[in-house]
């Protein structure tokens, strides 16, 4: 779930997690209505809020024990699950420490551990990498990827690289409205740079012929001196046509790149439209 600050991402997730109830409308989680069966729905969900707040005055292991008990685990089950969590999130050596003495990276991992302790079907993470350093971000992302193998993971973010790195489906929202629902690729293809070809020639090119090629939407200056970016029409792949033109004209173009399209551009376009 992607959107600028104040778009309503956290509010949406909080409603799904059953923290607040929607003023109108409802949602269905694995067959449970979040308004009428919120307790049932909550049992299927693991949720980490934006702040990721835990009971900071508790030690890691007693906190996880508490969560396990509330989630209905008892005796041996509880013990083995808590130990599994401590191992999975590499919390073993800090298990006796008070949570508020640990770094933010650890606290995030404790948050994740508490959320999946009861092995939920759905995992809701509100800005899971917010405020972490690049290494910790990478680590948390790897863990999310791992979890996504057998769970539905819903994350909210305003960091675009996270979308391409993690997501198979993107919802873009702004001001409480859903703007786009699609794959990251579909989102990228909305960019005017999607499938654009950037040429780095050693000699001036014949822009007219280049512009006349079928499927070409326009030509603009590329990122480097003398480089040229040829834009493609939506849904058209122009690389073969350009290649054959280069060959037939004998142009000296040592380097060329096909662009994926910039999510940032699409994001700005979508959300600015809303504000305008």
């Amino acid at each position: 779930m992607l959107g600028p600050n104040g778009a309503g991402k956290s509010t949406t997730l909080r409603m799904l997690a059953g923290f607040i109830s929607p003023t109108s409308g409802t949602a269905n989680l694995c067959g449970f209505d979040i308004r009428r069966q919120s307790r049932h729905a909550q049992r299927l969900i693991g949720y980490v809020s934006e702040t990721g707040a835990c009971y900071n005055e508790m030690s890691v292991v007693s906190f996880l024990d508490f969560i396990a008990q509330v989630r209905g685990l008892r005796g041996g089950d509880k013990k083995s699950r808590v130990t599994a969590m401590l191992e999975q999130f590499e919390l073993m050596e800090v298990r006796g420490q008070t949570i508020n003495t640990l770094s933010k990276g650890f606290q995030r991992r404790i948050g994740l551990a508490q959320a999946i302790l009861h092995d939920p079907m759905i995992l809701i993470l509100d800005e899971p990498t917010d405020g972490l350093d690049p290494n910790q971000k990478h680590r948390v992302r790897e863990q999310i990827k791992d979890l996504a193998r057998d769970k539905i993971v819903i994350i909210s973010t305003h960091i675009l690289e996270e979308v391409t790195a993690l997501c198979s489906r993107v919802l873009v929202m702004d001001k409480g409205r859903l703007l786009v629902d699609g794959t990251p690729l579909e989102l990228e293809s909305r960019s005017r740079y999607h499938q654009a070809v950037t040429l780095y020639p050693r000699q001036p090119l014949d822009m007219m012929t280049l512009g006349m090629l079928p499927g070409v939407a326009g030509i603009e200056a590329g990122p480097e001196l003398h480089s040229v970016r040829v834009l493609a029409r939506t849904g058209v792949v122009i690389l073969p046509a350009i290649n054959s033109l280069i060959l037939s004209r004998g142009w000296d173009v040592p380097r060329q790149e096909v662009e994926r399209g910039s999510l940032g551009e699409v994001f700005r376009l979508l959300t600015r439209e809303q504000h305008a």
Binding site: R14, A17, G18, F19, I20, R39, Q42, R43, I45, Y47, S49, E50, T51, A53, C54, Y55, N56, E57, M58, S62, F66, I67, Q69, V70, R71, G72, Q114
Partner: protein, 244 residues
């Protein structure tokens, strides 16, 4: 019920992993000792009862019990852990009662620690232990009412200090409205039914009745309805304020 006990246990432990429970108990013991022996003239009265102790207790409760209640919800909202708690499939009412009960148990432990007074008075004379027991029961009920008020007010603010101060003022108000000073002041311009109404709202009126050893169902009902009303108000306050 499955989620009730873990929450209750966690709350109870949280009083003991922070110094709150110890400081509270110490203060209650020291201050009640001072008030009983020095201000209440325990020895000079030459009576084998704990009247001076039970006389000072309501005022100490109004001062000290809000310290147990002030963090109950305000800290949860301040740190955001309320979001964690409320998404664990724990009902609001369940959480409210669990938290309240934990604080109530701490106050019971603190009250139980005043047992040397009972031993002393039994050593010095022949008191009516039934009356003393009744007084302790009344004290515990009074403590519960103060805690319920404090819990409710702590759900309304994120600042524990504000929760403490407002709870203290409200507890004091519930005490003062039964004192002769206030009732005399009102007598000039309020009619008798109103005066009775104000007096019957007071903790003191009902507390003193029970402390004399009279287990009047009316007094018991008063305290129980105080508890229920404030806990219900807390549930509403938490629901309204949790996401703010």
């Amino acid at each position: 019920m499955k989620t009730f006990w873990p929450v209750f246990k966690r709350e109870l432990c949280s009083y003991f992993i922070t110094p709150i429970a110890y400081v509270f108990t110490m203060l209650l013991l020291v201050l009640s000792g001072i008030s009983t022996f020095y201000l209440g003239d325990f020895y000079q009265r030459n009576q084998a009862d704990l009247q001076p102790f039970f006389d000072c207790l309501p005022w100490l409760f109004a001062l000290l019990l809000p310290t147990l209640a002030m963090r109950m919800w305000s800290i949860e909202r301040q740190t955001g852990s309320i979001e964690l708690l409320m998404c664990l499939a724990v009902g609001t009412a369940e959480a409210v009662v669990a938290k309240f009960l934990a604080a109530w148990v701490v106050s019971a432990i603190a009250l139980a620690m005043t047992f040397p007074l009972v031993i002393t008075v039994n050593y010095l004379g022949v008191p009516d232990n039934g009356v003393i027991l009744c007084g302790y029961l009344a004290s515990w009920l009074l403590a519960g009412s103060c805690l319920a008020i404090g819990g409710c007010l702590s759900a309304l603010t994120k600042n524990p200090l504000i929760a403490y101060l407002t709870a203290m003022v409200l507890c004091l108000a519930f005490m003062v409205c039964g004192t002769p000073v206030l009732l005399d002041a009102l007598r000039g311009w309020a009619s008798l039914p109103w005066l009775d109404g104000v007096a019957s709202l007071s903790f003191l009126t009902h507390f003193e009745g029970l402390c004399r050893g009279v287990l009047d169902p009316q007094d018991l009902l008063y305290f129980i309805s105080q508890l229920v009303a404030w806990l219900a108000a807390t549930v509403i306050a938490v629901e309204l304020k949790k996401a703010v």
